[in-house]
Amino acid sequence: MNKREALKAYYLMRLARSFESRAAEQYTKGRIGGFCHLYSGEEAVAVGATWHLQAEDYVIGAYRDHGYYLVRGGDPKKCMAELFGHQEGCCKGKGGSMHMFDRDINFLGGYAIVAGMCPIAVGLGVAIRLKEEKRVVLCFFGDGATNQGVYHEALNMAALYRLPVVWVCENNFYAIGTSVTRSSAEASMAKKAAAYKMPHFTADGMDFFRMQSVAERAIAHARSGKGPAFIEAVCYRYRGHSMSDPATYRTKEEVEFWKSRDPLPNLRAQIQHDFETGDEEFDEIDERVRKELDEAVKFAEQGSELPPDRRYDDVYA
């Protein structure tokens, strides 16, 4: 990886992190309603896992999805507008925070049922196989999702049919307030996946370089036609499960430990060390992100919801 590419990774992570801070602000001001699940802390997983994807590859995930949408090239203006429920949003305000979607960048959603999109990833794989395409599917989900029945159905089918799916489990140790040790008899997500006979990796989800290196191997495996692969990305969310969660189930010490492993300053330090980069280039990126997000908020503020007579649109084709 060269300096330009490393800085691009930093930019994407910065964009995701700062977007979530803006979303939190706007939510507190009452401009965003319903549920809002923020990705802060997990940026290295999204950027690292998608780093070696092609434009035609499919990405799908659960409801903590602003980060996926943005790192795949989604427009922050359309993302913020969607959060505001405005028709200028990527889903015309019909989806909201949990249901970002953009056909143009092959980001196929944003789902509220923790493992509900796993069999959908299988279906995408079936289509890829029938059409003899070279695409892969990246499917993101959390540790909690690995206990839903349909998760097991999906992993089994993808392996059985040798489909080009890369399963990425973001193990941030908590499903709302329930820790992994209180919910999973087998606490290793990778071991659970191993039962379905696929290559399984555990990656440091707080480190971009390590994450993209593991993902590169998993993606290559899936793309070669040998079948699915599984990555357990060990990571941490800095905020609560959602804007309504004060996360009192985590100790201050635990949160501080993980903050010391913040992927953003760590990537910055790595780049500054490896490529002898000064502060100015990072300041430029931070400034660029700040401007993009100012625009995104302004764009969202200036928009409006679909009028009530449009509520029947798009039920049927």
């Binding site: 889903c91 049922i113 959908i120 349909v150 089918m157």
Partner: protein
């Protein structure tokens, strides 16, 4: 005109649509090598190969999710759930994913999925294998639901369902698979949402669907002996359903009896009755009557089970009661 069974009519529709459109795929439990637990998918694997016709594990939720994902990526999936009873295992995928995704994502995709499911009771299969679940799907915006009663309609409606760009629940009745009827050569795809008058009449309108359409016709023949001339309407489509045709019929006959195999509470008959009250209240000379399956999980014992399913005699009684009201 060629005569064929309801089963063969469905099988023909599958063959023809798979021939016509290479994006149509069929999958489910035992549909490929075994040719279907009811033999409905006979010959498909042989003709179209294992990429387009394949067996799945016992994973109903994933079967539906696979169809949803494949549709999103440009295929036209026609999965089978072995019986409608097993749809309960897939309800989240059907009603909380497939049905809502077009709307939720602002119209960015279409989901041309047809889920075939045989259902109904009357064969001593017990409480977990004898449900009529149409109302669950009819209640769900984003889905279309059809339920043919005749081989001709089974073929034409399946062709239409497969060609429809929306999720369609294609219900079949297990008891009708061997029923033979005329199917015109080269029959075209039907229009979803159209009912059919099976027997014109002037004294009362009997509205039914699925296996009950046959029961309704039987009842009309019995009523004719009593000089009561009943009009029998087969709904064929349940969502959307042909409100106009049914209202028009009841406006002429002034009496409505609706027959359904499912239990009465919030059933199809309740929907039809409420709609008739809205549309033709002034034309009704009696309240719309419902002849429904018993409000119980179905039992195994033969006679006991039969007592839980509407028979022609029940329908005749209901018509008489309406006329004497």
């Amino acid at each position: 005109m060629p005569k064929m069974s309801y089963r063969d009519a469905i099988n023909q529709a599958l063959h023809e649509e798979m021939e016509r459109d290479e994006t149509v795929i069929v999958f489910g439990e035992d549909v490929a090598q075994y040719e279907g637990s009811f033999k409905v998918t006979r010959g498909l694997l042989q003709k179209f190969g294992p990429r387009r016709v394949f067996d799945t594990p016992i994973s109903e939720a994933a079967i539906v999710g696979t169809a949803t994902g494949a549709a999103m990526a440009g295929l036209r999936p026609v999965p089978e759930l072995m019986t409608v009873n097993f749809a309960y295992l897939a309800m989240d995928q059907i009603c909380n994913h497939l049905a809502v995704m077009r709307y939720m994502f602002g119209g960015q995709c279409t989901f041309p999925v047809t889920i075939r499911m045989p259902g109904g009771g009357g064969h001593q299969l017990g409480s977990q294998h004898s449900h009529s679940l149409e109302v669950h799907f009819v209640h769900t915006p984003g889905l279309k639901v059809v339920y043919p009663a005749w081989p001709e309609d089974a073929k034409a409606l399946l062709k239409a369902s497969i060609r429809d760009d929306n999720p369609v629940i294609f219900l079949e009745h297990e008891g009708l698979y061997n029923f033979e009827g005329e199917v015109p050569d080269g029959i075209e795809a039907a229009r979803i949402g159209e009912a059919k008058v099976l027997r014109p009449g002037k004294d009362a309108s009997i509205v039914a669907y699925g296996a009950m359409a046959h029961v309704a016709l039987e009842a009309a023949a019995l009523l004719a002996k009593e000089k009561i001339d009943a009009e029998v309407i087969d709904l064929r489509s349940l969502r959307p359903w042909d409100k106009q045709a049914v209202a028009e019929s009841v406006a002429r006959t002034h009496h409505a009896v609706i027959v359904e195999e499912c239990p009465p509470m919030c059933g199809i008959a309740a929907e039809v009755a409420a709609t008739l009250a809205e549309m033709v209240f002034d034309e009704l000379d009696s309240p719309p009557a419902r002849v429904s399956g018993a409000d119980v999980p179905l039992p195994y014992a033969r006679e006991l089970e039969q007592a839980c399913i509407p028979h022609a005699g029940n329908v005749v009684e209901a018509v008489r009661r309406s006329l004497n009201a």
